[in-house]
């Protein structure tokens, strides 16, 4: 095993691959994505285990908890805030202030309805205001309310100003207002503060959820779909193609008929129909979020095996005429054994390349299907993010679509570079 690994590392293909800087960088990027995906997956697992057994509470370790399904759905700030702390136009800065003041106002208005424990109710409502780690300052309600009213008056005067852009006095006033608003809250420090900055770094969506957390969390979804679909579809295609080529006769007729028929339908239509078949079944149940990806897996696996099947069938047709296959038969092995143990391993390089192509295809198709409302149903994904951002784009808010696209672009690009490099490295016709 170890000598095998050493041999692989020293092989011509591996040396050629390592000399390709882009390919190594792409591999590093993919490794990073994989690590993040694995991280999210294990945090979710730990959390579920902790919740059911009571052995630990992941939520008390903010760094560990930063990326999880729960966090991807958590409200961390006002709605549709831009990222990088940029508030380019004064109007938008004013809107952000107003959003925070309104949230407080809703809580204070509870008082108007009167009743015994109104103080307590207001307290509870204030405590619920939660922008990630930012909480309402811990002060007596009355004091806070007075302060709030002062800030609100300050806001009103600025809001009345007809043109914020041109008034030279407006900008300092706006800065004062922002400082005064911030004083109503306690900014977290240390790890929590850092996490809050991280969450707001790419802004928030229409429900005030962190775009950054959503985009990073979606890595897990993408890799899950990519891996499952690429592995299953490649193996399925390889087995069918190899069996058809090796056994010939009606097996081959059937395989060729099956993939010709399926490939005469446009991929997307086929995918849509297959996914649609699952609507209303157990896999469509909000109470079983862990099953929600199964329709996607099934549809893509049933669609994507065609590519590898074609290629591997062609290769096995060639290999089975080679003498080592005959020689293996002459040793006495059965045909099935010769196929699996001698012919298939010689198509491994093709399987690798097909795997990486399908991985990308699966991720891209997840986005398309989610955009059409047929894809990911629970949690989030790049496709869902892009779908959500359609209305935002009309309003000129590009953070969500930008983040989802950029994260996906990097992964797809890295995989393209990698599969190119793999093809080069394994192709015996390329010398060097």
């Amino acid at each position: 095993m170890l000598t095998g690994l050493k041999r692989a590392w020293e092989s011509r293909a591996a040396r050629k691959f390592r000399r390709n800087r882009m390919a190594v960088a792409a591999l590093a990027v993919i490794a990073l994505y994989l690590a993040v995906g694995l991280w999210v997956l294990s945090v979710d697992g730990l959390k579920a285990l902790g919740d059911s057994t009571g052995w630990w509470n992941v939520r008390s370790a903010p760094l560990v908890d930063a990326l999880s399904t729960e966090q991807a759905g958590a409200v961390v700030g006002p709605l549709e805030e831009p990222g990088f702390g940029i508030k380019p136009r004064p109007e938008e800065r004013l809107t952000a202030v107003k959003a925070r003041l309104d949230d407080l106002g809703k809580a204070f208005r509870l008082r108007a309805r009167g009743g015994e424990d109104r103080e307590a109710r207001i307290r509870a409502a204030l405590a619920e205001i939660n922008y990630g780690a930012v909480r309402v300052a811990d002060r007596p309600v009355e004091e806070l309310r007075a302060q709030w009213e002062a800030v609100k008056r300050q806001y009103d005067t600025i809001a009345e100003s007809p043109n914020l852009d041109r008034d030279p006095a407006a900008l300092p006033a706006l800065r004062d207002l922002e400082a005064a608003t911030a004083a109503l809250f306690t900014e977290p420090g240390g790890v929590r503060g850092f996490l809050q900055d991280f969450r707001l770094s790419l802004g928030t969506d229409r429900q005030g959820r962190s775009i950054m957390v959503k985009a990073v969390y979606s890595i897990k979804v993408a890799i899950q779909i990519g891996l499952v679909v690429a592995i299953v579809a490649t193996l399925l295609g390889a087995l069918l193609g190899a069996a058809g080529a090796f056994f010939g006769g009606w097996v081959d007729y059937f395989v060729v008929w099956l993939y010709s028929t399926l490939s005469s339908l446009p991929d997307l239509v086929l995918l849509g129909v297959l996914v649609f078949m699952f609507t209303g079944s157990v896999f469509d149940d909000v109470n079983r979020p862990y099953l929600s990806l199964v329709p996607l897996y099934v549809a893509m696996c049933l669609t994507f095996w065609i590519g590898p099947c074609r290629i591997i069938r062609g290769e096995v047709l060639k290999i089975k005429e080679l003498e080592y296959v005959q020689a293996a038969t002459a040793i006495g092995f059965s045909r099935l054994y010769v196929l699996i143990r001698h012919a298939l391993p010689n198509t491994l390089h093709l399987m690798f390349i097909n795997f990486s192509l399908l991985f990308i295809a699966a991720i891209k198709n997840e986005v398309v299907l989610s955009f059409l409302g047929l894809g990911v149903k629970s949690g989030t994904s790049w496709g869902l993010m892009i779908q959500e951002s359609t209305q935002q784009v009309i309003n000129g808010f590009y953070w969500q679509i930008g983040a989802a696209t950029a994260f996906m672009f990097v992964l797809v690009l890295a995989f393209n570079i990698l599969s190119d490099a793999l093809q080069d490295a394994f192709d015996p016709k390329h010398v060097g």
């Binding site: 000598t3 080679l322 003498e323 020689a327 293996a328 002459a330 040793i331 092995f333 059965s334």
Partner: protein, 355 residues
Amino acid sequence: MPAGEPVLSVRGLSACFRTDLGVVTAVDDVSFDLSAGETLAIVGESGCGKTVTSKSIMRLLPERNSFLSDQSRIIYHNRPRRRAAAKDRLPPGEIELAHADAPTMHHVRGARIAMIFQEPMTSLNPVFTIGWQLDEALKYHTDLSRRGRRRRAVEMLRLVEIANPEQRIHEYPHQLSGGMRQRVMIALALCCEPDVLIADEPTTALDVTIQAQILDLMAGLKARLGTAIMFITHNLGVVAQFADRVLVMYAGRVIESGPVRDIFHRPQHPYTRALLDSIPRAGNRHRGRPLATIEGIVPSLLNLPGGCKFADRCPRRRENCVEREPALEPGPDGRPVRCYYPHHEPRVAEPGGRT
């Protein structure tokens, strides 16, 4: 096993292919015996059915478009014999292979009748080490332990004269030269101690010096292991030096057979004689004269002539030759020959060879 007793008896073997132009009979009514420890050479022009004969015995012809006639009998004589931990799953006695079922063939192939191919470059699987490939065959046919199999693999490589077998065992086929790969193929074929080794032009793809080494190796192994060898070749020089008996084939038929000395000294069939005359030789007999060749080409299997298949090219042809095909009958010196007018006189020349 005592020498002289047959290990393999082929009777009336006919192999047919279904082609788009109809059924062709590539091998027609071939019969011969192969005795323990004997080397039988099969010679003949390209396309005369040598490979089809050997593949029929191994039952390696494509099942889809080929079949053996119902009269065909390929009898393997399974005699009790001490083997190194072989899984003996075949009943003793005569085993008919021409129509045997798949499990029987799995036990016969490799373990009792082994085969090496012409092209050493592609006869080994490129993705596995040679040790792995030897081990795989031993695992399938013997009860040896892991360690025992390894010892045997090393021993086999040493037997075929590969230097440093302990290291070579970890190497991949592409790290070996053509000659070494053919040695490994021989080791692979012999590792389960088969009774019969079929070698289909095992040296044709190698250069001349390596050819000689491989042939010497096979001759040595034959003497040591007592394996019967069925040797297919174009090279009559090799036949003279290496074979005990010769089977001459033409257009899918046996036309003459006999001990190697008789074939070379007193060939009876005009084709055999023409074949021997076309061997280039050292010495001055041919200086200044063109090498003798056989005029014409082998008839197509799709429309074979009715009478003697060699009639078109035969210098001794007479009227009746084309009417009915001659049978394989004892000729002037008692050996079977398929000709109405066989040669009686011995051939003047010395047997050809690598001189």
